[in-house]
């Protein structure tokens, strides 16, 4: 898995409109190295980090809500980050990225709390019903964002930011995504606790776990990761849903054991989708939101229909 990711990442470095080959790097051609360091490298790095971040977030969310079909797409998290970002752009247009990130994070965090409360208050624990409510919740957050966007006449711009797309990534405009790294590390360190939380509140309290703290920590990491990914790249639907589900089908439910697999597969999936999107209508690009949306959506449908 690791080698597959490494190979595709290297491949991804050499795909693009400007010619770039290994020889150029060995010859230390300054122009080519410039392309590599300013555009190609940041792009591949952010692809890998976004893939890791979203799939790990999906895995954690599935454990925290104890539902296989919960993910950033089906819990309104992406829409919440969008709403937060939009609030930042409209009300503090000059404040810069830091405040925007904070707003996106805060809104996502609050939305996750609300979503958890909703899940708690659903008496019928139908596994399909929870994502249904989550998607509805996302639709409502989105209608809030649309309300604002219509008032400020920026509906098309908002849609343009939100289309998952890595083509605009250049050095100096993507570094924010490194913020997801500490969140992922924390997730890995607390993996065992999350596994226990996945067994239910009573059970985890019984085992001596500080349930609210672990829950809060999980939500914190998830919200942080999702908001930085949305800010750097936009909407990437279904990734956090499909990857953890397939990996857990093969390797089981122990988070500590499968977390690396989930992370690597997520990154691999995203890098491959990005390569496809870049090659199909070369020299133009299909935004990754579209390729992942279609491939991921179809995989999710297959998962749903094959479910016994």
């Amino acid at each position: 898995m690791f080698f597959a990711l490494l190979a595709t990442s290297v491949l991804s470095l050499f795909i693009g409109v400007a010619d770039l080959s290994i020889n150029d790097i060995l010859n230390a051609d300054t122009d080519k190295l410039f392309i590599l360091s300013v555009s190609r490298f940041p792009r591949t790095i952010s692809l890998v980090l976004a893939g890791i971040g979203l799939s790990v977030s999906g895995l954690i969310m599935q454990h925290l809500t104890r539902n296989k079909f919960v993910s950033p797409t089906t819990a309104g998290s992406l829409e919440a980050a969008q709403l937060g970002l939009l609030l930042g752009f409209i009300f503090f247009p000059l404040a810069g990225m830091v405040l925007n990130t904070f707003l996106a994070f805060a809104v996502t965090f609050i939305a996750s709390l609300i979503f958890l409360k909703i899940v708690d208050s659903i008496r019928v624990r139908n596994i399909i019903f929870v994502p249904l409510v989550g998607l509805m919740f996302g639709g409502i957050l989105h209608s809030g964002a649309t309300f604002l966007a219509v008032n400020y006449n920026i509906v098309q711009d908002m849609n343009a930011w939100m289309m998952g797309d890595f083509s605009g990534i250049l050095a100096g405009r993507y570094e924010l995504i490194y913020l997801s790294l500490p969140a992922i590390v924390i997730t890995y360190l607390y993996a065992n606790q999350f596994t226990v939380v996945g067994m239910g509140e009573d059970f985890s309290k019984n085992l001596g776990l500080n349930y609210p703290v672990v829950m809060g920590l999980g939500l914190f990491c998830v919200s942080l990761t999702i908001s930085v990914v949305v800010i750097t790249a936009g909407f990437i639907p279904f990734l956090g849903l499909v990857v953890p589900n397939i990996v857990t089908m093969i390797y089981g439910d122990n988070i500590k054991k499968i977390l690396p697999e989930v992370a690597l597969s997520g990154a691999l999936f995203l890098v491959v989708c990005d390569i496809i999107g870049r090659l199909v209508i070369y020299p133009f690009e299909i935004p990754i939101g579209l390729t992942v949306g279609i491939i991921g959506g179809i995989i999710f449908l297959i998962l749903l229909l094959r479910r016994k």
Partner: protein
């Protein structure tokens, strides 16, 4: 006269007075023109109210909960994709290329076709889970949405405004002829639908109870889903997506009318919808002179109300 029928008569009075205020307020000198354009709006609102009321209440009964609306099944995504494609292919001339009647008919057929496709996908596999059907509709809807928003990115801003005009339900530019056709289809569907409201009363008891009482559960679910699909399609093709309007009005109706009888609930809900729409249109148009389409405001308010419902009620 029972309490429920009393409340319905009261609602009718409120609705009628809302409508007369809306039509008669400040007619101005060219009153014939104002009267004509306002009655067209009222006609459209009446059709949408009936569609939204029947489809939402029936849908909530079938799914046995009060926080879902049929719009989550992806009908509106089909509509939006079609509108986007039209503008994408024909540019700003799209309205000459396909007349408003053609647009109405094609969109309605596409949405009903989409519903058919969904049922086939599910029932062929022998899966009879309602929620699965919905989730699959929702996922397909998300897919179509991604496709439309990609196409919308490629539009130039002028053409995008043509699409944006279609994104939000609006009662302002409705073709007079369409109202006739929409009314015709709606009348037939509504006559069939209202004849079977007592079956909805039984279905509300849940699957096992309904079967126990001798109802052919699967057949009835199919029947009502079809009626719902037709109504949502009519209303969406006529004015555009209304999203959470149904959520708002159906829950208001349950609060006002504490009954489970669908032959009372549905007319009452239609009246509530008409009051909300006419009142909202009046306030937005004449009092606050807002440029925001009323449906955007209703979605926003409906969304807030939805959150309130979710957080207040312990049991869903």
């Amino acid at each position: 006269m029972t309490a429920a029928t009393k409340k319905i008569s009261l609602l009718s009075v409120v609705a009628l007075s809302c409508i007369s205020i809306f039509v008669l307020y400040k007619m101005g000198n060219s009153w014939e023109f104002a009267f004509h354009s306002r009655t067209i709006k009222i006609g459209a609102i009446a059709i949408v109210s009936c569609c939204v009321a029947y489809s939402t209440i029936a849908f909530q009964t079938l799914t046995n909960n009060r926080i879902l609306t049929p719009s989550i099944m992806g009908f509106e995504s089909v509509f939006m994709l079609f509108q986007t494609l039209l503008v994408f292919i024909h540019g700003e001339n799209s309205f000459q290329a396909v007349g408003s009647l053609g647009n109405f008919l094609i969109s309605t057929l596409l949405m009903i076709g989409f519903a058919f496709l969904l049922y086939l996908l599910i029932y062929k596999r022998g899966v009879d889970n309602m929620f699965l059907l919905l989730l699959i509709g929702l996922i397909l809807g998300t897919l179509l949405n991604t496709l439309s928003s990609f196409l919308q990115l490629l539009l130039d801003p002028n053409n995008f405004f043509v699409v944006q005009g279609k994104m939000f339900a609006s009662f302002n530019h409705i073709n007079q002829d369409l109202i006739g056709y929409a009314f015709g289809v709606l009348a037939i569907t509504l006559v069939i639908g209202m004849r079977y409201t007592h079956r909805l009363d039984v279905l509300a008891l849940g699957k096992n109870q309904a079967i126990n009482l001798g109802l052919n559960y699967d057949r009835n679910i199919q029947l009502f889903l079809m009626l719902i699909a037709i109504m949502v399609s009519i209303s969406t093709a006529l004015v555009g997506p209304v999203l959470f309007l149904g959520l708002l009005v159906s829950n208001l109706t349950y609060e006002i009318l504490k009954t489970y009888k669908h032959h009372l609930l549905i007319p009452a809900c239609a009246l509530v919808t008409a009051i909300v729409l006419v009142g909202g249109q009046f306030l937005a148009e004449r009092v606050f002179v807002l440029s925001t389409p009323i449906s955007v405001i209703i979605n926003f308010v409906g969304g807030i109300y939805f959150m309130y419902l979710l957080l207040k009620k312990r049991k869903l």
